[in-house]
Symmetry: C2
């Protein structure tokens, strides 16, 4: 597979020429979304080649019957997954009776562009059908950011070398399947099909979860730029409505179909109103018109880019890549709805079920915190707050008591979806990330109210979990956390994973610290929280004593914290001595061999030191980086960013850039030949972190915002903006100077290379 | 569930009265088998209640598509399982148009007996149908040990209170299903149905594996003891043939059907001949007749009991239980065919797929060694020898090289069937059991030729595995075996499981020792073996150096070998302090909790010390027993026997008896409410071991046969026989005396309570 397929461009993702082998990969890369829904870049017209059809609605999931080898107590029965939703993009085309299908026509020209500035997807192509008719097709499609229930397609066909009959049939189809179905079940039931003059709708319901969705369309035709009203003939089947139109084309005639369509669903409206709301919404869209909606789309995205764009000069591919990542994150999650979250593949594929992982807390929240209004990150926190009861229930299922909570590894609705004991039951460090995200949010925004109103309940429930999960070893006279899987999933069921023990200890201290502070400063809240959580004073001393006596594996001779007990019993051979033919080890080696090797999938000790960088001296950090980096294979897309950030911090600029490159174009250049399954949405936040926290050196510990920028030798300059406590600050870095600009109307204090700066409103300072 | 349901009897398993709730459990307990085939005690007539239909043919398996949650490299695609085979026992009965079905009739009397002395299954019952007709039915069924392709049923019906029309329809049916099917697939294809006068046959083939089986029947009728030839009407469907007969009954008339049936299959005959062979075999059976076959059956079993019976006086339930266990083992495996082995459920159920586990080598071989001709145990060894190539292939798949072999955890044909990484890839101690079984066999029989002809190749391949699987720790300067699951499956992916390291070290030494001996004593064999295995002289020193530098976890302060690294970091709380409500922990606790607990599923350090008892002083043994026994929950049926044997050895008679009781009537009294799934066939060998090696104190180390008998306080006396190097010796033990009898024609030397005895042929000695 060619890994330089996408044409570099500063604002667009572009492919030229048609390659049937790339269709599924491009479907992922050119995906569009608007937070409420999203879809792969499937073709509107028929396509008989290899394709992964996917259109997804945020929050609409199905509990698919799980498939496991050997059942374990405590496993969930179901794997909740975002479903492929009814198809509303479909437009069937026949020219003089011949179906338009890129897989069977001769493709003379093909161009596809995803414009990230304006958030639309364009295709234009010229084909010759087997009956020698040549047509040119142009399609422009977007999902409206203003009317989030609406998607629009402008689809035009021009007769290039013939006069003849065009049959064009826009349709909606609820007869879709999920590729990712464990037992090939069908997940949708159609309740109703209805039609009105130029429109149609299908009301369908998910089995078991009983979400209802009205999929609607309204179609408007133009011939050579003038509106026409061709005669409609409709066909209906049990799950499908198509409107057929026959239009006589003279040579050079161009027919344009404006298809206004989309989903109206029961999370947002009463079920009984869905179809009438759908009708109203689409009528409104038709009234605004395609051009009006397109203009609005551009304006909506101007606002997004105004606070989140990163400009890179001197490296077009880097520029394209960072914008792609920022664009995808904004398409996937807009932060308007606390019931939604960010699946590892966003709206670009079915893999991982579209569910929520700890990726959100560990990687995505910092991105949204810095590029959006704080309400966006807060909604992500509230998502977990609202699922606290289910996390408590989950912990109870595993034998924990007294309101201890274990957040699920994978979830859609708060219930655990994953079924691998070493992950489901043992990858418990995720519980720490929930608290770290609260800390991060409060630290960044200064919004302590969040802890009072919501956060403290979560902090208490998680502290209770850790206090029960730690066990006391008489032999070592310390607390241990036995049988865990750390962020480095290439070790399973280990004892005393350093990261897990560290974050557990920190959670316990953080619980103590906050509960004590609330007791002193907010007595009314203290009373309310204590009552609601059934909190006992004595818990404070329990938590303290466990935290204070937590054991950490450590090598005295090297002065290094060990990843887990027994790490030094392994054969320690650096990754660079592994032959290329053995990598990636997760494809070449059996699981036991990976486990007993010293190789690290993703940052683990280093991840912890990154989270708590203020706890460790630069020397300690350097020693650990130098010990663990050579053993890390980075076979998780979430790994290189942390190493890139730490390498920047340690002035290892080449290493930082090397690591940055491994994340930046992971999907665009499809390093691992897997983008056909969807894009790595959550790890895109890691690329942003590599730039802003890595090269930019942005930090925010102890209420101090600071920067320490460096620049890769390969770039001329770069700049980024962040939103910090309602001020927008722009950091520009070239090889000559660093310019800090306060774009907001209030003064801002921060630290640049350890120097305290106060920047007046709209002020600017340049440091050489 | 009543755990005292089976009526105690010294030679029979008996139930009286009909309980629909117990049908599936009784189907397991009353199972019959003849080594070549076996079946659950399903009813011949229709039964509409809950039942698990099962009839199995040794060696006929299907590679069912596996079901896993998350795929790992190296997993097998298939789970080979013994299939439910076509039904040949079926006899449909109608009385004046009403179907005979114990689930819907009024059952007036019901009696079932499995006679273990004569190896037949009897039922007799009186029912009243809803049309008020009362009939008495008697059925006697057995699977011939002489004609192993034949099963026979004598089925009689007597009209008790009416005259009327009996419709009786013996049938064969290939339209059977497997309950244990991962995707509800059908595994058989019917190739041909044919009929002749009083018989019929169905030729069917397993999908994928393409085994062919001809299922045949021939039916003979008697009325009131006289042969009759009622008119036949046959019905056929795609997979089914029934022969219908209508017989007018006067009150007190008794019709008897002799159904001669069974399987002829393609492992034993050319496919093209199967149906004609079936016809011939059944004709022969008809010619011998039911009475003749029954007599032969009794004679065959007299021979079996002559060398394997254990007599217990003073405890009828113990007597019944030990015979049940010996009986089931003999039904399951007769040792005639090296292509067959012993599934954990034998022919009594589908669970575990009927495949071969290390149970065979660790528990069953000693039983067959002592109660049968040595060819039987040798055939079990040859089973593995014949699968050596596949074991080498399996190891290769996991990254091992140069002819290293890893025997599968679960197999039917030599290929691995199991799909749980912590078992499939990590429960590698099984490889040691393969070698231990060879050692055991040679030690017991003195047949060193086995090593020359076959064993050495296996020993070399396994030594190669261990030498590659061990890794060197620079830190500890010793060899480690990382990431394993020991026999105690309540620990997964641990480092340096003592048992595994110990048996690995022993295997390496055993390989060195034998290769050196062969080099000195059998130079021609040495050359041949070296050539065939591509053996290099240098391997000897590799193996030696790894074995000599093998690491063993150990507590200096306690003088105890630790089960694995880090065991002492656990909370150590004896099992007796666990509330009953928490047990069995495998039903009450989630997997992670089990793993981080100190609780032991089955003997592990103790299992190793049992295997290599001659390496450890009694004091060492005692210290380890006292440390580990209180932590063992015995949630494997293979666990208590080892503890019973060791407790006997350590003169802990009460503990020994307590452990014995946990195995002896496990199935008969259905301790765990699971016998409906099938009986624990392989662990039945453990009960035998508890008596012979435990109470009897039989040992055979270093070419010395020895006894050290004790007797449970609850018994009056017991006696057992063993076959040792062609001599049969009987050991009788009462509270007063021990009598050793040499039943054979050659003198025998052995040790009794450390005293050397020589017993002349037919000699007897009594020790007080």
């Amino acid at each position: 597979m060619n890994h330089n397929y996408i044409i570099p461009n500063k604002w667009s993702i572009i492919e030229e020429g048609f390659d049937a082998e790339r269709v599924t990969a491009s479907e992922s890369l050119f995906s569009i979304g608007n937070g409420a829904m999203g879809q792969r870049a499937n073709f509107e017209e028929a396509y008989s080649g290899d394709t992964l059809q996917g259109s997804y609605i945020g929050g609409i999931y199905y509990p698919d019957k799980t498939r496991v080898g050997w059942w374990k107590n405590g496993y969930p029965e179901y794997f909740a997954k975002v479903l492929n939703a009814p198809n509303w993009i479909g437009i069937a085309i026949k020219i003089d009776g011949q179906e338009l299908d890129l897989n069977t026509c001769k493709v003379i020209a093909f161009y596809r562009e995803l414009n990230m500035k304006k958030a639309w997807l364009k295709r234009s192509f010229i084909v010759e059908l087997s009956n020698a008719r040549q047509v040119k097709v142009e399609s422009l499609r977007f999902l409206s950011f203003s009317l989030t229930e609406v998607g629009v397609i402008k689809y035009s066909i021009k007769a290039l070398n013939f006069s003849g009959m065009l049959e064009i049939a826009p349709y909606i189809d609820a007869g879709i399947v999920n590729e990712d179905s464990n037992y090939d079940e069908f997940f949708w039931k159609v309740l109703d099909l209805s039609e009105n003059d130029n429109g149609a709708s299908i009301l369908s319901e998910t089995l078991k979860t009983k979400f209802q969705v009205c999929t609607g369309m309204k179609n408007v035709f133009h011939l050579n730029g003038k509106k026409i009203n061709p005669t409609k003939k409709s066909t209906k089947s049990e799950k499908y409505i198509a409107h057929h139109y026959q239009i006589d084309l003279a040579k050079d005639d161009k027919v344009t179909l404006y298809k206004y369509a989309g989903y109206v669903q029961s999370m947002n409206h009463p079920k009984k109103d869905l179809c009438s709301v759908s009708h109203d919404v689409l009528s409104k869209a038709v009234a605004i018109g395609f051009a009006g909606l397109l203009k609005q789309q551009k304006q909506d995205w101007e606002k997004i880019w105004a606070t989140s764009d990163i400009l890179i000069k001197g490296d077009l591919k880097a520029q394209q890549a960072i914008r792609f990542n920022i664009f995808q994150l904004n398409q996937t999650y807009t932060g308007k709805d606390a019931r939604l979250n960010i699946g590892p593949k966003g709206f670009t594929g079915e893999k991982y079920g579209g569910s929520t992982y700890w990726d959100t807390e560990a990687y995505c929240i910092p991105f949204y915190l810095s590029t959006k209004d704080k309400q966006v990150a807060k909604n992500l926190l509230l998502y977990r707050y609202n699922q606290l009861d289910k996390a408590i229930e989950n912990a109870k299922k595993l034998g924990f008591t007294k309101g201890a909570a274990l957040y699920p590894m994978v979830t859609m609705n708060g219930e655990e979806s994953h079924n691998e004991w070493e992950i489901t039951f043992e990858e418990i460090h995720r519980n720490g990330a929930m608290i770290y995200a609260i800390y991060n949010y409060v630290n960044y925004t200064g919004d302590y109210n969040y802890i009072l109103e919501y956060g403290m309940e979560v902090i208490i429930a998680v502290a209770r979990f850790w206090s029960q999960r730690a066990t006391f070893s008489n032999f070592k006279n310390q607390y241990m956390i036995l049988g865990v899987t750390g962020p480095n999933e290439y070790e399973n069921n280990v004892n005393n994973n350093w990261y897990t023990n560290y974050i557990a200890k920190w959670c316990l201290h953080y619980a103590v610290e906050n509960m004590q502070r609330i007791g002193l400063e907010y007595p009314t809240d203290y009373k309310r929280i204590s009552h609601k959580t059934n909190f006992k004073e004595s818990e404070i001393s329990d938590w303290q004593s466990i935290a204070n006596r937590m054991y950490f594996p450590h090598s005295e001779s090297m002065g290094i914290f060990m990843q887990q007990d027994g790490f030094l019993d392994k054969e320690i051979i650096p990754v660079k001595e592994l032959p290329d033919s053995e990598r990636p080890i997760n494809q070449k080696w059996s699981w036991d061999r990976i486990l007993r090797s010293c190789y690290i999938k993703q940052a683990d000790v280093l991840q912890g030191m990154y989270f708590f960088e203020d706890h460790f001296s630069d020397l300690k950090l350097k020693n650990h980086f130098e010990y663990y980096e050579p053993l890390t294979v980075h076979e998780s897309s979430l790994s290189p960013c942390v190493h890139s950030i730490l390498a920047s911090k340690l002035n290892m600029d080449e290493k930082a850039y090397e690591m940055y490159l491994r994340t930046a174009r992971l999907d665009l250049d499809d390093y691992n030949d897997e983008v056909h399954e969807g894009c790595h949405i959550t790890s895109m936040a890691g690329t942003w972190l590599s730039v802003v926290q890595g090269f930019g050196g942005m930090r925010n510990f102890n209420n101090k915002l600071s920067f320490n920028p460096s620049i890769p030798a390969e770039w001329k300059s770069y700049s980024f903006k962040i939103n910090y406590r309602d001020a927008i600050i722009q950091v520009y870095k070239s090889h000559k100077e660093t310019i800090y600009t306060n774009l907001s109307d209030k003064p801002l204090t921060f630290f640049a290379n350890n120097r305290r700066l106060v920047l007046a409103q709209k002020g600017l300072i340049s440091l050489k």
